[in-house]
């Protein structure tokens, strides 16, 4: 049960993130919700690689053989970098929208229809 907690936390983070995206009207909060989903996926990845009692996967002078998996950590790192790029891009979009429309309310930002 204790080892399942990170998975539950990851699922919870993702659900909160998606709910934020759907329910909040402020565009900044939509982007925040997306970041929460991303955090949930990252947590899932890292939790998948954990082995009870394992040490960091550095082989030089390692005191023991039991290590956590490095692949998922590399994947998480990559995803964090990608996440920063996407979040920065989307926040800059929101900035431009706010400047041009005078609002960042998702209900008001609806000039494309049909």
């Amino acid at each position: 049960m204790l080892y399942d907690l990170p998975f539950l936390a990851a699922a919870l983070l993702m659900v909160i993130g998606i709910a934020t995206m759907l329910l909040r009207r402020n565009l900044i909060k939509v982007v925040m919700g997306l970041s929460l989903v991303e955090a949930g996926v990252n947590l899932l990845l890292v939790a998948l690689g954990y082995r009870g009692g394992g040490i960091a996967p550095i082989f030089t002078n390692a005191p023991q053989d039991l290590m956590v998996l490095p692949t998922v950590q590399a994947m998480t790192l990559t995803n964090i970098v990608i996440g920063i790029a996407t979040t920065a891009l989307m926040l800059s979009f929101v900035m431009v929208i706010y400047r041009r429309y005078g609002t960042a309310d998702a209900d008001a930002v609806r000039r494309l229809r049909g």
């Binding site: 982007v31 998922v72 996407t86 494309l112």
Partner: protein, 524 residues
Amino acid sequence: MIPAFILQHAPALLLCVPMLGAFATPLLGRLGAGIRNAWALLAMLATLCVAGILTSEVLANGTLIYTFGAAAPSFAVPLDSGGIPIRIIFAVDAMGAFMALSASIVGTAVLLYSIASQKKNSGQDGYYGLLLLLTVGILGMVCTGDLFNFFVFLEINSLAGAALVAYRVDKGVAVEAGLKYAVLSTLGGLLVLFAIALLYGQYDALNIAMIASRMQFTLLDKVALVMLLVALAMKAGSVPMHFWTPDAYSMAPSAITAFLVVASQASLYGVFRVVFSLYGLALDCLTVGWIIIILGVLSMFVGVTMAIPQKDVKRLMAYHAVSQTGYMLLGVGVALAVLGNQDLLAAYGNIAMQGGIFHIINHAMYKGLLFLTAGAIFYRTGTRNLNRLGGLGHSMKWTMIFFIIGALAIAGIPPFNGFASKLMIYESVFLFNPLLSIIAMVVSILTLASFVKVFHSIFMGPALPEYAEVREAPLPMLIGMGILALMVILFGVFPQQVVDILVAPAAAALTDQGGYIASVLGGA
């Protein structure tokens, strides 16, 4: 003739060349606009050459494996790894090569066209950089044999695409479309990563062939399948996840829209790769096949009915793009539904598959052509509103001819390429289920009706006084459109040759899951 170095490293060069081009473009932009344009064009042409070399290699020698960081590119499985391919591997089979070739042909036409259409705009350094980066994303997605790598290229594709959609701010409206595209793509990308995590947790591998060889089709695999399908079908613009397409396609610069069509097709390729190569026969093929067929029929029908009342010419074409995606899903879905049954596969499944895949390249050509003509009209008149356009046939003759070619091709009229692939889909789907085939034909007729209306309101009628100054589009734009128009006609006149050389190997590569696994893992 071709140096052995290029032959050996073609899959890596396919990405290195446009990536170097992308990141050097802003630097060279400091030296002058002409040098930068020449550099971007050179990078794209070199990419096209590499894609051509790669395709001929793959068609001659079968699936090409390229292992990054290994002593030799073909060492997919290191000796001390216990039979697991631990490195990033590119597995370029006939399907991947086919997609890469079609993407780089459209990319070249789009770049040529951009040189004229972007001439008067600011910020061109970033524009060409992002265009080449989008190429990297597309080519990476169709070449990689590694799931996580696929996700990374998907994100490159989405980021570059969203930035380009919003590139010409247009009072903020383009940015609104860009934000919508970016949010949906990122959410889709995260769903893909979640699915990859589920698969990795069970099979300890990221390599598509490795996971496919260990596939158990447990409950978690089903969850992963649903997530992959939803996310990739959304990126491909299939109904009911199509709502971003009209916004993004209509607000992006026209050249970019033509290329976004290819970017969506890379996601469509992802759908096919997942269902055929990753899951394959482990699936309940009939059920998943029908799900894809239903997605396809919905896309066809909803797309075309939404297109008919549109007044913005690019928005109208965007809905048609959704509709045409449906044909590809329909053809390939039928093949998937009968995947386990060799008799039915031989009777009509293979033809349906080839029709669906042939339609991918045809769609990239004629839809690209149509968006480019819409862009040329916008470039000269400054409006996309069908009610305000008219009489342009007097002044923009070449654009009109290119538009006719594109419109007849999308409606499936011989001798253009749309007819060839649609006929293959009609014939084979009719044997599977006549009703589906009839729906497909009705949609084609509606498409024709819609384009007759567009043609009439843009080009016919007396020359309007407000467009008295309008001249023919500039030469680079005409060359860009001309390349695509030539391909549309060539593919329409010689469909059998194209199918035999390019399409049939691609379809065979997708249905042959065992062959794909063996080519990576080595006879496993």
